[in-house]
């Protein structure tokens, strides 16, 4: 008797959890769905009120995006800049984090703080000096300027997060490798790095997203050649009107790589976001 009551109770609470989860998903998914639908609507359908759920889909907004706004160039720029910046920040940051986590570095905490302080500077403050430096180096409106800026921007995050991931790996595992015949670098490569994969994946996705979505510096430090996707997307907002279809299409285009990246990294992300996964 009592067991059937508790069973019914657990079924009810199960349904409750599903309902809650569905509501939360709907809440977060709605803007994305709406954006995707808008990107496929004609201008007339977009401005219709009440909103139309059934309409004849058209790729007109996408066509305009690629012809009028040169989205292809921007996409290539974005991909090139963000991938390289992410790669540089990950390599330099992880190695720095390893040094800070494992070696007896003098003034270790000061150095770590110094690295973090880059992020404390409001980006706006650095814009004018960056502009002048870029002009003098002749790299204004080239991808290299944004690569440098995004690498530096991502670096503190990588150093601080990877340091914690590295500290989570028991020292004795690395010491065993050193005794088993590895040099420091071999030990890092064969033992530490494989154990860091979840952490690396989680960190990489986050700094990739930072750089991919970055607008402020990209809009000021580029003019035509090195323009990235967020800058293009913003140009759908004109002084007199907002081109909703174009904006939505740009939004979809920008979101796609992130969605793909997260799906690819999902396995690692879950493990990486729950620290302590490496302890055997």
């Amino acid at each position: 008797m009592s067991s059937s009551i508790t069973r019914r109770g657990s079924i009810l609470s199960g349904i409750g959890y599903y309902a809650l989860a569905l509501m939360a998903t709907a809440f977060f998914a709605f803007p994305i769905v709406w954006m995707t639908l808008s990107s496929l609507k004609s201008d007339a359908d977009i401005s219709a009120y009440p909103p139309r759920w059934v309409f004849a889909p058209t790729l007109e907004s996408y066509r305009k995006l690629f012809t009028e706004l040169n989205a292809m160039d921007a996409l290539i720029n974005s991909a090139f800049i963000v991938c390289l910046a992410t790669l540089f920040a990950m390599i330099a940051g992880t190695l720095a984090a390893y040094g800070l986590a494992r070696f007896d570095v003098k003034n270790k905490n000061f150095i770590a703080f110094e690295v973090l302080s880059i992020r404390m500077l409001p980006p706006m403050v650095s814009v004018i000096p960056l502009f002048i430096i870029a002009k003098q180096l002749g790299i204004f409106d080239t991808p290299w300027l944004l690569i440098a800026v995004y690498t530096l921007n991502g670096l503190p995050f990588v150093v601080w997060v990877m340091r914690v991931f590295i500290q989570e790996i028991p020292q004795s595992i690395e010491e065993a490798a050193l005794i088993d015949g590895c040099s420091r670098f071999e030990c890092f490569w064969r033992v530490t790095l494989p154990l860091l994969l979840p952490g690396l994946a989680a960190t990489m996705v986050i700094i990739f997203m930072f750089a991919w979505n970055e607008f402020l510096l990209a809009s000021i430090l580029t003019s035509s050649e090195a323009r990235t996707l967020p800058v293009i997307a913003a140009s759908s907002i004109k002084a007199k009107a907002i081109s909703w279809g174009l904006g939505s299409a740009a939004g979809v285009l920008m979101s796609l790589p992130i969605v793909v990246l997260v799906l690819l990294m999902q396995k690692y992300l879950v493990r990486g976001l729950t620290l302590g996964a490496v302890k055997g």
Partner: protein, 355 residues
């Protein structure tokens, strides 16, 4: 050959972890460093391994100066307290790892891994990950990984302290047998006196960065040099009676009959155990005290405080003029409150130096 440690120091800032330790560990010897936590035993071991660099001094392995060599060039193997297994590799790959790093051919690697796994009874777990086997099996894997490449020196840092008591006892004998049969020079760190006593060829008792006494287990048990060693080894520990040496008056002890029981030959050495003020201890193991009738010749008169029968033996806590000590006897008639005589078995009282 073996391992030579010459006046090795390790300082961490103002703290001295290892204070000028010198010791020769013979080829093929099972050498145990024993002491409470923070005594410098693990730091000494890590310096032999090359995981820490000494602040001063020299370390030689098989005649070669390795003081500042990287661990991989020392031809050593090590077992860790938390095993130090590679969690992302299978048991097979863990054992294979040192061979792979040394670029040994695959066929030979496989042969050696299987032979070693067989010897340690873990052949059936080769495909599992370290996370999927028990603590005892993990320690076997770490031993297999250490032994698979026939190192000259095997270092063990409290390898049994994460195991339960029963498993510890069986692993103890197994490790000892295995290492002895292979003839590998072994340095073993532990805080467990039973491990030290049962496994060691020689024990070094360490305290605050110093090796207080280095000797065979029985020598350490029978003739502890200092108060610390006497107290640390043996359960219940040795009874220590404060004594004073004076060239003219001879030896005065808190329980005088025990001082008088020192043979003339031993008593002559008292000056070398006494500190500047002439203080030292007369030490007697609880099992070397006999309970006799009160007033027996040469016996100290004491009252019984407490009787603790343990089955095989009985601990009798007695009080002699305010000095409390323990007598271990067979079954006894003594009852709380009785006044008894306590006698030292002939030739069993020792001189013990203060710390």
């Amino acid at each position: 050959m073996g391992i030579e440690v010459r006046s090795v120091y390790k300082r961490f800032g103002a703290f001295t972890a290892v204070n000028g330790v010198s010791v020769d560990i013979k080829d093929g010897e099972f050498f145990v460093m024993l002491g409470p936590s923070g005594c410098g035993k693990t730091t000494t071991l890590r310096m032999i391994a090359g995981l820490e660099l000494p602040s001063d001094g020299q370390i030689k392995i098989n005649g070669r100066d390795v003081t500042y060599e990287e661990p991989r060039h020392r031809d050593i193997a090590m077992a860790f307290q938390d095993y130090g297994l590679y969690p992302h590799l299978s048991v097979f790959q863990n054992i294979e790892f040192p061979l792979k790093v040394r670029k040994i051919a695959e066929g030979e690697r496989r042969k050696k891994v299987h032979a070693t796994a067989e010897k340690l009874g873990i052949a059936e777990y080769l495909n599992r990950k370290p996370g999927q086997i028990s603590g005892g099996q993990r320690q076997r894997v770490s031993l297999a990984r250490a032994l698979v490449r026939n190192p000259r020196v095997f270092l063990m840092d409290e390898p049994l302290s994460n195991l339960d008591a029963k498993l510890r006892a069986t692993m103890r004998t197994e490790i000892k047998k295995l290492v002895t049969s292979l003839g590998i020079t072994t340095v073993y760190v532990t805080h467990d006196q039973i491990e030290a006593m049962s496994m060691a060829d020689r024990i070094a008792v360490m305290r605050k960065g110093d090796m207080v006494q280095v000797a065979t287990p029985l020598e350490i048990y029978d003739r502890p040099r200092t108060e610390f060693v006497a107290d640390f080894i043996g359960s219940p520990p040795m009874n220590l009676f404060p004594a004073h040496f004076d060239r003219k008056k001879g030896i005065a002890a808190s329980v005088q009959p025990f001082a008088d029981s020192l043979s003339g030959e031993v008593a002559d050495k008292a000056s070398s155990f006494a500190d500047a003020q002439g203080q030292f201890f007369v030490g007697v193991r609880p099992e070397h005290l006999l309970i006799v009738g009160d007033g027996a010749e040469g016996a100290a008169s004491a009252s019984v405080d407490f009787v603790e029968p343990l089955g095989q033996t009985t601990n009798v806590y007695v009080d002699c003029g305010g000095h409390k000590f323990i007598v271990v006897t067979d079954r006894t008639e003594a009852r709380v409150g009785d006044v008894v005589g306590v006698l030292v078995a002939p030739g069993k009282s020792r001189l013990v130096a203060p710390n």
